[in-house]
């Protein structure tokens, strides 16, 4: 069995465990390559269906084609989209110039926590492909997230099924044991569990799988003639392009095998503080 097959089988197993155990299950879809691969794996696990909603947190600063791509794929694949936003912070003019961590906290972490809990109104796409306002939505108790252990230090310590307390806090120094594919599927009221089907995948594995399965990934990752492309995507304001002529997954794989530059080097918020990502993750950042 090839390593990609091992990874796929483990991810599929995790998806099915999550679906079996969590009544209010959802999956975060950031539109990036990792969570789009995860979406593909969900369709593998459920034979073409995606039997739970996909949650996207729209900071309003996302690269515009990301939103177009999101809605197009959602309509094409019959996905149940749920979109959340920190409307109050945006109305008060929040943006990255007030401090990147401050901005991430407000527009991503707070928006995520309150969208997942149903405390804030959210938009839900109906079967007709149109968004409608959803008030008093139910809280999600199982949240599938595309974190990978190789992204940065604190993610390397994650479990496949990782509990979050009622404040969405991650108690990283006291995580429950996890062994032999027996996961944390019992949880106290008011808490929720983050589920990580991609934990063992590396950036290269992601691209190898995109190539093997021919997954329709957003084209921001490819050079379209300018000699530049995105390696990691997010808010337009805080994500930089890299110098690279790679036009397709195969060329990206070749390039990654030779590089020593970390994946998130283009993500400005990581560079703010040595423990920036750990701090954000403890508070509930994805």
């Amino acid at each position: 069995m090839s390593h990609l097959d091992e990874l796929e089988n483990q991810s599929v197993y995790i998806f099915r465990e999550a679906y079996k155990h969590f009544k209010n299950l959802c999956m975060l879809w950031s539109i990036g390559k990792d969570s789009t691969v995860m979406l593909w794996l969900a369709r593998k696990a459920f034979f073409g269906h995606v039997p739970f909603p996909l949650v996207h947190i729209d900071t309003s600063y996302k690269i515009p084609v990301m939103i177009e791509y999101r809605d197009k794929l959602a309509r094409q694949w019959g996905l149940e989209m749920v979109v959340g936003q920190n409307r109050a912070a945006l109305a008060a003019g929040m943006n990255h110039t007030r401090g990147r961590l401050v901005c991430c906290r407000a527009l991503k972490t707070d928006a995520l926590i309150n969208t997942l809990s149903g405390a804030w109104p959210r938009k839900r796409m109906g079967p007709d492909g149109e968004y409608r306002e959803e008030l008093d939505g139910e809280a999600f108790t199982g949240v599938i997230v595309g974190a990978r252990a190789d992204e940065e230090g604190s993610r390397a310590k994650e479990r496949y099924f990782s509990p979050r307390d009622h404040n969405s806090d991650w108690d990283v120094s006291d995580q429950p044991p996890e062994l032999w594919n027996q996961f944390k599927t019992d949880f106290a009221p008011g808490t929720h569990v983050r589920i990580h089907p991609l934990l063992d995948w590396t950036e290269i594995n992601i691209w190898e799988y995109i190539e093997k399965e021919n997954i329709p990934i957003i084209d921001l990752y490819f050079d379209k003639g300018s000699g530049k492309r995105y390696r990691s995507i997010g808010c337009e304001t805080c994500t930089g392009m890299i110098e690279s002529p790679a036009r397709n997954p195969a060329e990206i794989i070749t390039e990654l095998r030779l590089t020593n530059i970390p994946e998130r080097a283009g993500r400005a918020q990581d560079q703010e503080d040595t423990y920036a990502m750990e701090k954000l993750r403890r508070e509930g950042y994805m």
Partner: protein
Amino acid sequence: MAHETMNVVIVGHVDHGKSTLVGRLLADTGTLGEGKLEKVQEVCRQQGKVFEYAFLLDALEEEQGQGITIDSARVFFRTALRDYIIIDAPGHIEFLKNMVSGAARAEAAVLLIDANEGVRENSRRHGYLLSVLGIKQIVVAVNKIDLVDYDEKVFRDIVAEYREFLAEIDIEPRHFVPVSAREGDFVATRSERLAWFDGPTILEAVDGFTKQAPESELPLRLPVQDVFKFNERGDDRRIVVGRVEAGTLRPGERVLFSPSNKVSTISTIEAWQADAPSSVGAGNSVGITLSEQIYIRRGEIMSHLHAPPQVSTKLRANLFWLSKKPMQPGKRYKLKLTTAETEVTIDEIHRILDASNLDASLTKNQVERHDVADLVLRTRVPIAFDLTAEVETTGRFVIVDEYDIAGGGIVREVVSDRLEQRRLESRIREIEWVRGDISPEQRAHYAGHPASMVMLTGATGTGKHRIGRALESALVHRGHRAYLLDGKNVVLGVDADLAFDDIEELVRSFGEVAHLLLDAGNLVISTTNVIGLSDHLAIKTQIAPFDMFVVHLGPEAEGLPEGADMRLDPNPDGPHDREVNQITAELRERGRLLMQSK
């Protein structure tokens, strides 16, 4: 294409240098991201600390602050041979649960010992846990050899002492390697300072591990994870999903589900965006459809007919305990073994060991945190499993206390329970049973229900018999094939030649008569009245694969007794319309009664 990848865990006593070794491996193999080494060195300068290779791994603020590893980290690195996921496990006793979580993912291990300190309690405890976790490929690194002036005698003494301990737990390391992770001797490169040593470097030793093939040659084991029906999405397939833990399956094969003893045939292997393979081996998460539709649940193990797993309510196991709250006799826990979940209690404790020296405690009567125990567990309902020596993945389990995994273990022996014989007879009977051309589904279609049994239990005078009669009447009048099997009728006829006190045989023949009526497609109603069927669970075992629905009659204060599906508190003198409606509604809810009847 993706390279071969192997998970290797680094374990050992706290401060013996595990993170330093991994940091050094990363640095010396050129795997670190550009700028990473400089960044961490810069952080150390800012914080006024001496740089250590361990800081490359210990990413958490608290870990760097305390200079210890708290949780296992995964680190990715590559040699010419293959890609590795190195799991850096914490060595502090406080974080043993994290060490176990890390090590359980590994295919091979590097056990580290400080040359200066020698074999310490976690050197032994980790060695013992590796053996319980089933990790057989092990290399021992005797680290900090620089601190003892690269002295060969120190190395040889540690090798002798540790080898003797490991032999007691059936571990035979591939190599013992003297290293200095800090100075880089024998990590990735050889060293003149260890000229007396002619073995491999750690990197060579790790490349010398062999990749274990999945267990496709063993008997088939597919624990049922779920049964999918996406009808509302326009998909009418009924797909049984799970991971093949051992063996190989193919369409057309006859299969047995344990513990229910249901038999069916694999119809198709299902796949999305891929061609369905002609066979599927161990390690694959699959979906299959069955030719004969049978009702099966998560937790059953699918096997071929003549190589089934064990089924019992008692199993003898080696268990390790990780929770702060001790495991106590009499207390109920949840046992999870592959996809099965059931309530479990301690049946008998044989020995409780201190894993740091393998001394048995003579006084303990409960399993405390970090103890290991040899004990017998008793489950509330029978479960299917294997001995770990025969099929590893279906022979190990975890124990959940409240919301979290509190311990884990491996099954060493089956302990026979009271119903073992009955279970075996029922399994053989089901495999060998001769059927006509009418399938159980066809019978269910005409009768408006699959064959199943309703058993009424409760104290004398609660109205069991009256409700049984009322239920039979109501169902037959609606066109169903219901039959009230009174135990007395079996005693009068089938049992006429039996001694009146041969209870066991009376119960057995009652069960066989019930089974025949069920096979004919009936909804068999009975009560625990006439021949004192206090043990209707024996009948439940015997009528498998048919299901028994147990209705208990009694006051609310009694609660729902073990094995009962619903409780009613009727007026014994009737009328019983309400109870009959409640029972039929519940049967409908559970698919025991279908809407359409003739």
